[in-house]
């Protein structure tokens, strides 16, 4: 038999093979073979002292040793079922159990299995965590498509110029990262956002595509207008997260579509609560700056910092289109309509939606929280918009297309 990783001493091995018999008392002949003791020895039931004594005898007595060897082989030849004594009282101790358990690990093949299990136990949770973050990111990317109603129709494709697209991010990003951001953003001035800016996830190179997307939006917003310090720090954090990812873009896109398809119903149901959170955050923000951003949002957008082709590809994402189509199907169920000031509104997805609103058109979107300072300032400056907004009750949500801008009115 081959030794286990040991260097066998060939010379001594051969010598022993030739010589080992009964070194002392070679003429001893034991005729008193004790089956009871031999069986106890084989079954390892002998205690320390009696075992040592018997082993000493066996080392000298070839006859007894020969019988013991034969009995060992006989016992091993039996099947495991027959070896187990039918009436034997189980004698299981903690120590024996531990020995049995860890004794198996001393065997090389089981030791390898144990190592593999340990590696799997460590790596699987890590992978799952990473997968969750990807899901969250892809959910974040898919969210804008779910909220396509927030886009306005007919605007030129320059959404980047529209400021404050960050506002709804905490409410639409259903992941932990977004929630963290939501908490930290409670005092952040985030009023409006641009839907196109939120539809550029494919530019993100990282596994945390959604976060990367946010960071890009932040960068774009920074380029257009001054953003408060908190936004800047947010952008840096998000950018760092985006750089930390490693998944290919195609994979992120795939995840986006899949996750978006799966998570859309859930997002719809929780959308209202999320937006109310965002509303509270908005209320605590700097109202004047919000107003300024809202006004700027109405202005013509500047050229995008990212390629139009990329955004176009994203807009044509089958997953998003299918989501949009399915939403449209469900929206038509509601027959309630409102009409005033020459504008028609239909109730879709829990919001009164302007007939002029076309989610396929990249119009700047401004989110307004009812009765907030921004709201008051806005309606004081734009009487036409005021007459429309005041038609809705404080608890109602509305999407209004007014002078090339989509105003998303949400309750407090």
């Amino acid at each position: 038999m081959k030794f286990f990783g040991q260097v066998k001493d060939g010379g001594i091995d051969n010598l022993l093979r030739a010589y080992v018999s009964r070194p002392s008392n070679p003429h001893q002949k034991c005729t008193d073979f004790d089956p009871d003791r031999a069986n106890a020895y084989i079954e390892r039931s002998l205690t320390g002292a009696s075992r040592l004594h018997y082993e000493e005898h066996l080392s000298e007595c070839a006859a007894c040793r020969k019988n013991v060897v034969a009995l060992v082989r006989l016992a091993e030849a039996e099947t495991p079922a027959s070896v187990a004594p039918a009436r034997e009282t189980p004698r299981f101790t903690l120590l024996s159990g531990a020995k049995q358990m860890f004794g198996a690990l001393s065997q090389p093949q089981w030791a390898m299995v144990a190592v593999a299990v340990i590696v799997a136990a460590i790596s699987v949770p890590l992978l799952l965590t990473r997968s969750e973050s990807r899901q969250a990111a892809s959910q974040a990317v898919a969210e804008p498509s779910a909220n396509e109603y927030a886009r306005s129709a007919g605007a030129p494709a320059s959404p980047v110029a529209n400021p404050t697209s960050e506002t709804a991010a905490p409410s639409t990003f259903g992941d932990a990262t977004a929630r963290q951001r939501e908490k930290s953003d409670e005092k952040t001035d985030v009023l409006a956002r641009t839907a196109p800016a939120a539809s550029k996830p494919t530019d993100a190179p990282a596994g945390v595509g959604g976060v990367a997307d946010v960071s890009k939006k932040l960068e774009v917003s920074d380029a257009v207008q001054p953003v408060d310090e908190q936004h800047k720090s947010e952008g840096k954090v998000a950018q760092a997260l985006a750089q930390g990812g490693a998944a290919p873009t195609s994979q992120v896109t795939k995840n986006d579509s899949d996750q978006g398809r799966q998570q859309q119903p859930e997002k719809d149901s929780t959308q209202e609560s999320r937006e109310s959170k965002a509303a509270r955050a908005d209320q605590q923000s700097n109202e004047k700056e919000k107003t300024a951003r809202a006004e700027e949002a109405a202005a013509p957008p500047s050229p995008p910092s990212t390629s139009e082709a990329a955004r176009g590809a994203m807009k044509r994402s089958p997953a998003k289109l299918s989501l949009r189509d399915s939403n449209a199907g469900t929206e038509s169920v509601r027959a309630e309509q409102k009409e005033f000031k020459g504008k028609k509104f239909s109730f879709r997805d829990g919001a009164w939606t302007d007939k002029d609103f076309d989610p396929n058109k990249d119009l700047p979107v401004v989110t307004i929280i009812r009765d907030s300072n921004t709201y008051k300032e806005l309606i004081s400056k734009r009487a036409g918009l005021r007459s429309i907004m005041e038609r809705f009750t404080p608890a109602e949500r509305a999407i209004i297309v007014y002078k090339g801008t989509v105003y998303k009115l949400i309750p407090q």
Partner: protein, 326 residues
Amino acid sequence: MTVDEFQHAFQTEIKELLARIQRRYSVSDAEVTSAVHASAKKYLADTLDQTSGNPGPSAESRKAAGEFLSSLNADDLCLATACAKGDDAAWEDFFRDYRSYMVSVARTMTQDAGAAEQLADSTFAELYGLRESGGARVSKFSFYSGRGSLRGWLRAVVFQLSADHHRQSSRLVQTEEPEDMDRLAHAAEKPERRTTTDLDYVRDRYRDAVVASLRQAISDLEPRERLLLAYYYYDEMTLREIGHLFEVHEATISRWLTKVQKRIRKLVEKGLARDHRFNRREVAEAIELAAEQMDITVGDYLLESVPADRKREQPVQSPGGAVIRR
């Protein structure tokens, strides 16, 4: 220590053992205690000796006795005691539970169905006790101590009876081989062919010196180390089989063997240098030469001495001279 003293000294432990027995048959407490006492006398002699004569057992003795009694196969011991007593219900249970097993063990040993039945019947007769001692029937069951399982003990009993029958029926088949090993050692010490060349003289000198040193080295080993070598080299047990007996993994046995080999080499080298005044080069040459010569002898011997049905499993000589186990 008498049974009464034993019962008095370890009353609590005996009660616990009695409580463990599921079926008592017609065996009384006193009879079980007597059987346990016999077992303790055999395997716990030192503890009983220390306790005997003292007002009570020491904590150490009580612990040892407690561990011993708790490790006994109480149900098996009670069944064996009942069978030895001639309890019909016990015999019925025994027959039902162990008859087929004994026949299968016998068949494994005899390789013949008829002979197996015969061996099993003989064993049953021994267990019942056909022989009488002092007018009383002596059952083989009275030798069961409960230390191991009843099933394992029956296997050993069947094996012993089989070996006895075999020895009686055929004198041509040798079941014990120490004499053969003696002849082997003798052959190794004094090779048949004698030459007068200088080279052969040197070889013989080396050989004698190595054999003497080796004998001394082996006798200097611990009993367990000698047993390990005997199991491996003489009984040709596998590492796994030896590991089973020593309650360690075969890899551990492999390490132990390597360790023992190293130790023997050191002892042999020391012996050659000390007793035969060999220098380092001569020591190395002597061991190498002796190993080569003795190995050939052993290979031939082993293949000749083993029964025909085991020859396939015996070590064979590789073309390079190394011994290979199949």
